[in-house]
């Protein structure tokens, strides 16, 4: 170590001489450097390691020409990022004074952004296959068929944390086979195929699967059920034809004293279409809720069941009671619904008048001769929407061939059905393809066509196809007009379809989708069940949606003083006076609960099944809010010890502190843990607690930069005060990535900064961010293919600079880690 410092001293002297020299060259081009000589800073603090000879981390800064920022943008963006976060120069090396560093970074920002404005580089997105969510929505909007058709397709891979990244969405024979199968299902439902054979489908309320850990709570389980109901289930079912159907309920629990349970079924005529079916108990049928026995006394004799009257159970269709059954109790609770069967169609009378048919059949042939022209009209209308562009005769002709075959085999409807099936597997529907205009030189930057822009907009804001208004504007060539664009964005955000931003963007950005996979340990968190899981999801969805719909600042996501609760969730959070299962907006008086960091969804997905994880919570914040993910843990690194050497149970905090005595671990944990410590008052399912293993929780924390704070409210302030820019930049990067469907490159950084700057004037409102994105260079433009097939993107730059650099530094540390591991007894 001493030798390094000695060498450093010598070099520093040398650098001063070099700096004096280079000042000369800088003065030759003052108009480029704005009177500031960035190379003096670089020469003094960087080139010791980043010399032509040493090339530390593959970066050479020696001799860099600062008068030509553009060609060096890739490396300079990295320099900018490293110096602004204070990561470079590394600890232990001479660092510029804060003011000098600031001057240096602001010079870089200015120069890079100016160069980007003069030479815009929008990048190039590849072909983009519709993902499952987009497929579902496209089918919904194309055919008025809201059946989540994409659920029948294999799960998509994701890149950069999003599943709409074109380059990652591949095609396999399995996928194609599923397309063939799903397209047939969809088109038969859309048309109402009279040949549909009766089938029985089994629906299980997912709650019913967790037998033994479920509490039969005396509350309404679904908003689709009437207010006085408790228990039971409700779901949407698409009835394919006007016909009779059998609805059957299977109940759990032992047979009653009077022998096996009868069949609870009802056969009724139902009009075709999407309807809500449900089964409920009347509230008075259920005894007041008893506290579920905890694991410890599970085997204690339960109190003798009080004899009670049979429960009254209703089977409902679209909220209307079809039939009431009397059901014998089991114990003192009504029997749980384990399965709900729908069977049919029987005695079908026709396809009915469904929204799908209304949307699809824009004409009805009165005579046989009308058949072909009408079919042509129908197929032209639907294929234009499906292909998201004007269609020509060469598009319609092959579809008509399908129509003729179907017509020959059956009737007019069957002809349409067959052609529809072809549309739904057509690459024009399944892929978003953008074409370079002919005769543009390679590498030319151009504005995408209005029709392409329409799809970019609708897939960004709706995860779906453009609607007629958007498409018409595009076809008329009016969409790119800034005023039109702005008006359309406003209209699209106000449309319920923009809910897609909540489920697809927020769901993935915030990892909320993983809530479905969370499995809190019922022994430790007996209060967690499906109802609570759904409530968590609902809360975060409604909250994000409120910021979107009310056009609030994205800062409110961290700092709002309100949330959305129902009775169940309010009780879980310890908030009084909220009654009923309906969600409503609730003003928060407790400063600790406000914002995303106080929500059960996020607190649960960042916990282990059986305990909180300070590390995962800290990592979540660094990754998703601050854009500086820590490197992953090293293999063989010691895990937390739940007990100390005397066998005494340790709090999670104590375990972490022990873990951090290992300097290798400490280097990263010093950034993660404080963030997580501040949230320790929330248990593994987001419930407030004051003690962990009997010890009062210490929620105080200090960041490496010395910032001190306590508890969730303190953490929030620390983030907003000290890391506001990191947060804003991260939100913008995530949203831009999602909007473009590609990873961000160094040349996108000026765009990101520009968007943040633009949104600043409007207090970072959602709409200002979104508007800035859709008017940005990469959203509006594209670059033609380079003809030398030179990949403009080197593999190394694929991962955004931050994670890669951390991974790199982790590699460096890894050797140290294995060396240590080798010395550890039994390691």
């Amino acid at each position: 170590m001493r030798r390094v410092f000695a060498a450093l001293f010598v070099v520093t002297l040398g650098v001063i001489a070099a700096a004096a020299q280079s000042h000369h060259s800088a003065s030759q081009s003052p108009h480029f450097t704005g009177g500031f000589a960035p190379n003096t800073v670089v020469n003094q603090y960087c080139i010791l390691c980043h010399s032509k000879e040493l090339k530390t981390a593959g970066v050479v800064l020696e001799g860099l020409d600062f008068s030509r920022v553009g060609p060096n943008a890739r490396v300079l963006e990295r320099v900018l990022q490293k110096v602004s976060t204070g990561e470079m120069p590394p600890a232990g090396m001479p660092r510029p004074e804060a003011a000098v560093a600031r001057r240096f970074t602001s010079w870089l920002v200015d120069a890079l952004d100016r160069d980007a404005a003069a030479h815009p580089n929008p990048g190039r997105t590849t072909i983009h296959r519709l993902n499952r969510a987009e497929y579902s929505n496209a089918v919904r909007d194309l055919l008025a068929l809201d059946i989540q058709a994409g659920d029948g397709l294999p799960v998509d891979d994701s890149g950069y944390g999003f599943d709409n990244v074109g380059a990652v969405l591949s095609v396999s024979p399995t996928l194609l086979e599923r397309y063939l199968i799903v397209s047939r299902q969809v088109s038969r439902l859309a048309v109402g195929d009279p040949a549909t054979k009766p089938e029985e489908e089994d629906f299980t309320p997912s709650e019913a699967h967790h037998a033994g850990l479920r509490k039969a709570r005396n509350e309404r389980v679904s908003d689709d059920l009437p207010f006085d109901s408790s228990g039971g289930t409700a779901f949407s079912y698409y009835f394919p034809l006007d016909a009779e159907y059998t609805l059957r309920v299977k109940l759990g629990g032992a047979a009653s004293d009077d022998g096996p349970l009868p069949r609870y079924e009802v056969r009724v005529p139902v009009k075709a279409g999407l309807r809500t079916v449900g089964v409920t108990y009347l509230r008075e049928s259920a005894e007041p809720e008893i506290v579920a026995p905890t694991s410890r006394d599970r085997f204690a004799p339960s109190p003798a069941p009080t004899p009670s009257l049979p429960a009254e159970m209703d089977v409902r269709l679209d909220g209307v009671r079809l039939k009431r059954f009397e059901v014998p109790h089991t114990g003192n609770l009504p029997r749980q619904v384990t399965d709900f069967f729908v069977a049919g169609p029987y005695n079908a009378t026709g396809p009915g008048q469904t929204p799908s048919r209304a949307r699809l059949f824009v004409c009805h042939p009165a005579t046989a001769q009308d058949g072909d022209p009408c079919a042509r009209r129908i197929l032209a209308t639907v294929s234009r929407r499906a292909f998201r562009r004007p269609v020509t005769d060469s598009d319609i002709r092959p579809l008509m061939a399908f129509y003729h075959v179907g017509r020959r085999e059956g009737d007019f409807d069957q002809g349409i059905e067959r052609a529809l099936r072809a549309i739904l597997v057509s690459p024009d529907f399944l892929f978003r393809i953008e074409r370079d205009p002919a005769r543009l030189a390679p590498g030319t930057v151009y504005r995408v066509s209005d029709v392409e822009l329409a799809s970019r907009l609708s897939f960004f804001l709706w995860s779906s196809i453009p609607d007629d208004e958007l498409l018409a504007l595009a076809e008329q060539g009016r969409l790119h007009n800034p005023v039109t664009m702005q008006r359309q964005v406003r209209r699209m955000l106000a449309d319920p379809r923009s809910q897609a931003l909540v489920s697809n963007f927020a769901g993935q950005w915030l990892d909320i989708r993983n809530l479905a996979l969370s499995t809190p340990d019922p022994e430790i968190f007996p209060e967690f069940d499906e109802t609570l899981r759904q409530a968590f999801l609902q809360e975060t969805n409604l909250f994000f949606e409120s910021v979107l719909r009310e056009d609030r600042s994205v800062l409110d996501l961290l700092d709002a003083n309100y949330t959305f609760l129902n009775q169940r969730l309010a009780e879980h959070y310890g908030i009084p006076n909220i009654y009923g299962s309906q969600f409503r907006r609730v003003a928060l008086t407790d400063p600790n609960r406000g914002g995303l960091l106080g929500q059960g969804s996020i607190l649960t997905v960042t916990s282990y099944p059986n305990r909180t994880s300070v590390v995962q919570r800290g990592k979540w914040i660094l990754e998703n809010l601050l854009g500086t993910p820590p490197p992953p843990p090293l293999p063989g690194v010691s895990q937390l010890q739940a007990q100390n050497h005397d066998g005494k149970l340790l709090t999670v905090r104590q375990q972490m502190e022990q873990h951090r005595t290992d300097p290798v671990c400490a280097s990263c944990h010093v950034r993660m843990d404080p963030l997580g410590f501040a949230l320790e008052n929330y248990d593994g399912v987001g419930k407030w607690r004051v003690k962990d293993v009997g010890v009062v929780i210490d929620a105080s924390a200090a960041l490496p930069d010395g910032t001190r704070f306590t508890g969730p409210a303190g953490l929030r302030q620390a983030l907003l005060n000290g890391h506001r820019d990191d947060y804003l930049q991260t939100v913008t990067e995530k949203l831009l990535m999602y909007a473009l469907g590609r990873g961000l490159e160094y040349y996108d950084k000026p765009t990101v900064r520009g968007i943040v700057r633009e949104a600043a004037g409007d207090n970072y409102r959602m709409s200002s961010l979104i508007t800035a994105i859709v008017t940005s260079t990469p959203f509006q433009m594209r670059r033609t293919l380079e003809n030398d097939h030179h990949q403009e993107v080197t593999p190394a730059s694929h991962v955004s600079a931050r994670p890669r650099d951390h991974a790199g530094s982790a590699t460096a540390r890894r050797d140290g880690a294995s060396a240590l591991a080798g010395q550890r007894p039994g390691g």
Binding site: G152, V155, L176, L180, T204, V405, I433, P631, Q639, P803
Partner: protein
């Protein structure tokens, strides 16, 4: 690169060889897995005990390694590299995004040949939903942990987790399995494929390389399905479809889900719909909990046990549940007649992981068992130990050879054939 293959014998000859690859994630507690003693006289360790009924049909293979699962300068990400290397023996490219790259997997190499006479080249089955959000392992794409089957170095095959979807893949989506209805359905599909194939060709013109790549993938998928349809038409008259109810979509309990999927895998082999299948009992780095056997904790979390006996015990329980599930598959195969023997007589089913010690993320001394008579080419009932760090790909290469495929090039990092599989 894909090794060129020459066929040693007519693949249509009976009995047909079936290949299976069954993967378990996060390694296995090795001192409860590795048999005591070597050769024919070995004694089962507790985790593998449940495979005892198949003793004379199985080889326990110790000492093999997937060395490309190691960091080799790429830093953390052993789980991603484990999933990616198991059937490829190729070091995966570290990337979270677009440019995923590993090698074609051995099941797909086999499928290209063995699939020439079957309707489906291969079947890919998973028992756990892929990750839905977030990063999968240390900057590696989720593709590496979600699948073990790679159609090409850049195209992962998705693992199908819905029994109904697997059923429909095998037997179509018609309500009736009547041959005439089936034929009509195939004809419809064929005409749609003709239409979209023409469209793809039209769309490809004037597109850049990476764009074309996506459409080429689509075109290849079309050809694959077309070939399948043709095969189905030829075999339609003689095909005996099994009696099996269309299964539900995805049961929530692991055991029920697993049994259904194993049943489907066996039916796929039995009806000769396919001769190659791969299956992941959970995705790599899975943190699934197994409450039914008293493990409410996440699997991956528990494997970082740091020698805590309580955690080790929980991992052992999971290892045993998986082995038991595998035993169910073997039992089904053994009880399914096939030609002059049983399905198991005519197969090679490989079971194991690409990590041995899940706590330390080691990629050598891998837990592997090869079960099945391989049409008389494997002499079971033995525990074989190979020199440490022998490439596991030597085993994969040998399996290809025994399946009648004579690879003419290296397979991933293979250095030769594995000796002693058929002798004493």
């Amino acid at each position: 690169m894909v090794p060129a293959l020459s066929l040693a014998k007519d693949p249509a000859a009976n009995p047909a060889m079936r290949l299976g690859f069954v993967y378990v994630p996060n390694g296995i507690i090795m001192n409860r897995w590795t048999p005591i003693g070597e050769g024919a006289g070995f004694k089962f360790a507790p985790t593998m005990q449940v495979l005892e009924p198949f003793r004379d049909r199985m080889l326990v293979l110790s000492g093999l390694a997937q060395l490309n699962g190691r960091a080799l300068g790429d830093g953390p990400g052993d789980h991603a590299r484990a999933g990616a290397t198991w059937l490829t023996g190729v070091h995966p490219k570290k990337t979270g995004g677009a440019d995923i790259h590993v090698g074609i997997s051995v099941d797909q190499i086999a499928a290209r040949e063995l699939g020439k006479t079957t309707q489906l080249g291969s079947l890919e089955i998973g028992l756990e939903s892929p990750t839905l959000a977030g990063d999968c392992d240390s900057g590696y794409s989720c593709a590496y942990t979600n699948t073990i089957s790679w159609r090409s170095p850049t195209t992962p095959n998705p693992m199908e987790i819905s029994p109904r979807a697997v059923f429909e893949r095998l037997f179509g989506d018609r309500e009736s399995t009547d041959p005439a209805a089936r034929l009509a359905s195939l004809n419809e599909q064929r005409s749609i494929l003709d239409y979209i194939a023409g469209d793809v060709d039209r769309l490809k013109s004037g597109l850049g390389e990476s764009d074309c790549g996506k459409l080429t993938e689509y075109l290849e998928a079309i050809r694959d399905v077309e070939r399948r349809i043709q095969m189905a038409e030829e075999q339609n008259a003689t095909l005996k479809l099994p009696v099996m109810e269309r299964p539900p979509s995805i049961p929530e309990e692991f055991e029920e889900h697993a049994r259904l999927m194993m049943d489907l895998m066996v039916i796929g082999y039995q009806t000769d719909m396919t001769r190659v299948a791969s299956c992941m009992f959970a995705r790599e780095a899975s943190n699934r909990s197994y409450r039914s056997i008293g493990v409410p904790d996440g699997h991956h979390s528990m494997t970082h046990h740091d020698n805590d006996p309580v955690k080790i015990e929980k991992v052992v329980k999971i290892n045993q549940l998986h082995a038991q599930t595998f035993a169910y598959l073997l039992q089904k195969m053994q009880s399914t007649p096939d030609g002059d023997g049983t399905l198991l007589d005519h197969s090679m089913i490989l079971y194991g992981s690409s990590i041995s010690d899940g706590n330390a993320h080691t990629h050598d001394e891998l837990p592997l068992v090869l079960v099945g008579g391989a049409c008389g080419q494997i002499k079971g009932g033995r525990h074989l130990r190979f020199p440490s760090e022998t490439p596991m790909n030597n085993l994969l290469l040998t399996m290809l050879f025994k399946a009648g495929l004579h690879p003419t090039a290296k397979l991933g990092d293979s250095s030769g054939f594995l000796e002693h599989l058929s002798d004493v």
